[in-house]
């Protein structure tokens, strides 16, 4: 089977490995190298690095609007194109090129969380369950029928980063299942997504990372988990801007204005919220590294007075 793989970030790497296990990947599509880091040097994507390591041809078109880019894909004679967090919209004329069409590995139990940031939005919304869908792509954003899916539990402590890694591994597993079936001559049956329960996972925005203490503590605690490691929640506490790595919601009535620092102790900094109390446990000052609340207080921040 001739497979073309399209993907860009870390999330797609385990899937690429799964697809390449039997040397079936004839080319890897990934986004053009982008400037990154302090030197703003052109940096290859994680998927490109993995492809080069494996000696697979890498193609990096800016988009698929030109006839040339479509012809190049057609010349690869793909049986299947696998798309995992590629970051480019594929027009119908591209989706139609591979014999078995295009499969997408998507990090949510569709139709919950279509769109750009399904992993973080699931945590932020307090979901107890997430998963991966293998989807037959069609025009439209994550609307295609689902071929296979697998669920997992979101732990009460899971951060965006941890869930990302587990879902990336699960994605590779579901993809490998799909490829195994195809090799056995079985085309998994597409099931249309239900009409109900559709939600959109909008892209994460740095501006959202600023915590608004008038919200309930549980919402803020979920946001802190979801935004770790990126964009990382932040807030003004006792007149200082802190990035917040870990926090918990306390179900406690306080009668104080939102944003008031109620207590500061070894357990954490307790801030009054619209409902309940947010206990900030791990934090980071500007230019510093992540420390526990206890270390923060030891460093001379005697906030309790």
């Amino acid at each position: 089977m001739r497979i073309v793989f399209a993907g860009t970030p870390d999330f797609a790497v385990p899937s690429l490995r799964a697809a390449a296990q039997r040397n079936e990947v004839v080319a890897v599509y990934t986004q053009p190298d982008r400037p990154a880091g302090r030197g703003r040097e052109l940096t290859p994507s994680p998927v490109k690095r993995e492809a080069l390591l494996r000696g697979i041809e890498v193609v990096q078109p800016e988009n698929f609007r030109s006839v040339v880019s479509k012809q190049a894909l057609r010349a690869l004679r793909p049986d299947l194109m696998i798309v995992v967090a590629y970051g480019l919209i594929l027009p119908q004329s591209v989706l139609d090129i591979p014999t078995f069409g295009c499969w997408n590995v998507h990090a949510s139990l569709l139709p919950r969380w279509r769109g750009a940031a399904p992993i973080q939005r699931a945590i932020q919304a307090g979901d107890r369950e997430s998963g991966v869908c293998l989807m037959q792509m069609e025009k439209g954003l994550d609307t295609g029928p689902v071929l296979l899916s697998q669920s997992l539990e979101i732990g009460a402590q899971d951060t965006g980063g941890q869930l990302h890694d587990r879902l990336a591994a699960l994605g590779a597993q579901v993809l490998s299942d799909g490829l195994g079936l195809l090799r056995a001559g079985i085309r998994p049956a597409p099931r249309a997504q239900p009409e109900v329960g559709v939600t959109y996972a909008h892209k994460l925005d740095k501006a959202e990372a600023r915590l608004d203490f008038s919200q309930p503590a549980q919402v803020l605690a979920d946001t802190v988990r979801a935004f770790n490691p990126w964009p990382m929640a932040e807030a003004q506490v006792a007149g200082e801007r802190l990035r917040i790595h870990g926090a918990a919601a306390l179900d406690e009535a306080h009668g104080m204005p939102a944003g008031t620092l109620l207590r500061a102790g070894r357990e954490g900094l307790d801030v009054a919220c619209g409902q309940g109390v947010l206990r900030i446990r791990v934090l980071q000052r500007d230019g510093g590294k992540a420390i526990t609340a206890a270390d923060y207080l030891n460093a001379g921040r005697d906030l309790a007075r």
Binding site: Q150, S151, G180, L181, I186, R187, A189
Partner: protein
């Protein structure tokens, strides 16, 4: 007329499939009876591959044929239907070169006395080749009553269960640690040009003897197989020894021992065990004897052919420190290995199975020493046979205490742990460890 090469293999495959699909026969038994008549080992492998592939997709094949043939085939055409399944399996699942597959299958129509229908066979297979099969749901392969159970027991995992049950399993090997280290055997496999890998990290703790081959091959072509350096055993079954972990010198009972893989594994891990391998079927017990002989473990176990429920017939009254009850069950966790399970199991089979499992638990419990451990295991994924069976047993057995198993054994379900088909590349399997106070 000259027969095309390989047409005899298609005739054999057709007869086996006809017996399994239409006359309730077991795939394993039919293959065992039919294969020796083929002299070429490649033909034997082909027949096996065709039969497994056809049974893994018989529902999809039936649906396609129903769509393509205007009137349903009558019962007297069962054999023709089996032949069509043989043809579709070659084209769709095994992806054999189409001209050869079609020619040999059309020829086989003559071989089974259906020369007058050869044109129909040719036309249908050409159509399959042109159009492929219409899409069908993997779950259609399962009878409704089992689907109902699964939807209730594992709502979030249905896809995975149906998917993995439709796929050919990897070939799991068990290194005989008495003969060489696993690393040495891994080298031997690589030297023989066979790509093998180790289990996932978590499973490696439970199955430190396991090796995985992606592609199936005849066991006799494994280096050292005849000399007993290696066995074929699914990783989920290999975990049983880790769950049981009998102490050196312990008196151990393997109550449903045939074909002897778990007994042998226990002895490979701990040769000082005083092991009794019991099985109700004397003929199957002979397999245990052969297994132990090949692994050079003969004389290490005492073999008894008797009904485990009939204690006076086999038990000398001396209690066991450890009992393994690998109970008879629906086999719903090993459909990928025995696709005919889905054809032959009836809902009415379940009640007698549940009854037998409960009776075996009760009887064997009385042979267990105080402080001893019984491991209840099945290759089922139905909670009725696993979680509920153990809960009921605990409720009626005051001196039984469940013992927690490491999370690598599988998903927590009541007082036991469950692996679903495909978890870690293994079969569906259930384990519950019970201590007698």
């Amino acid at each position: 007329m000259k027969q095309s090469p390989g047409s005899q293999a298609r005739v054999t495959a057709t007869r086996v499939l006809d017996a399994v699909l239409h006359r309730g026969r077991s795939l394993k038994a039919e293959l065992a009876a039919a294969l020796p008549a083929l002299s070429d080992p490649r033909d034997r492998a082909l027949v096996e591959a065709i039969c497994f592939a056809a049974l893994r997709q018989h529902a999809a094949f039936n649906a396609a044929l129903a769509q393509w043939i205007p009137r349903p085939l009558p019962r007297r055409d069962d054999e023709l239907r089996a032949l069509l399944h043989v043809g579709l399996a070659q084209l769709v699942a095994l992806a054999l070169p189409a001209h050869a597959a079609v020619a040999a299958t059309v020829d086989a129509a003559r071989g089974i006395g259906r020369a007058h229908q050869a044109g129909l066979v040719n036309a249908l297979l050409r159509r399959a080749q042109r159009e492929g099969l219409p899409a069908s749901d993997l779950s259609a392969q399962w009878p409704q009553w089992l689907r109902t159970h699964l939807a209730r027991d594992w709502p979030a995992d249905l896809d995975g269960i149906y998917t993995h049950s439709a796929m050919p399993p990897p070939l799991w090997l068990r290194n005989n640690r008495l003969r060489q280290t696993r690393a040495d055997y891994l080298h031997a496999l690589h030297d023989a040009g066979l790509a093998a890998s180790l289990p996932q990290a978590a499973d490696d703790i439970l199955a430190p003897d396991a090796l995985r081959l992606e592609d199936s091959l005849a066991v006799t072509s494994l280096p050292g197989f005849a000399q007993g350096t290696v066995s074929v055993q699914d990783i989920s079954a290999q975990c049983v020894a880790a769950a049981l972990a009998p102490a050196p010198g312990a008196r151990v009972l393997d109550a449903c021992a045939a074909p002897g893989g778990k007994s042998a594994h226990l002895l490979e891990r701990e040769p000082s065990l005083r092991l009794t391998a019991l099985d109700v079927d004397a003929a199957r017990l002979e397999r245990v004897r052969e297994t132990l002989a090949r692994l050079q473990l003969e004389g290490r176990a005492s073999l008894r052919a008797a009904d485990a429920l009939d204690l006076p017939a086999w038990w000398d009254g001396e209690p066991f420190d450890t009992v393994l009850l690998d109970a008879p069950c629906s086999a719903s966790g090993i459909v990928r290995r025995q696709p005919d399970v889905l054809l032959h199991r009836r809902e009415s089979d379940l009640a007698p199975l549940l009854h037998t499992q409960a009776a075996l638990l009760d009887a064997l419990w009385t042979t267990l020493a105080r402080g001893g451990v019984l491991l209840y295991a099945t290759c089922s994924i139905l909670k009725a046979e696993n979680q509920a069976q153990i809960e009921a047993f605990l409720a009626r057995t005051p001196d039984a205490q469940p013992q927690p198993l490491h999370e690598a054994f599988g998903r927590l379900t009541g007082q036991g742990r469950q692996r679903l088909p495909g978890d870690g590349g293994g079969d569906g399997f259930f384990y519950a460890r019970l201590r007698r106070n």
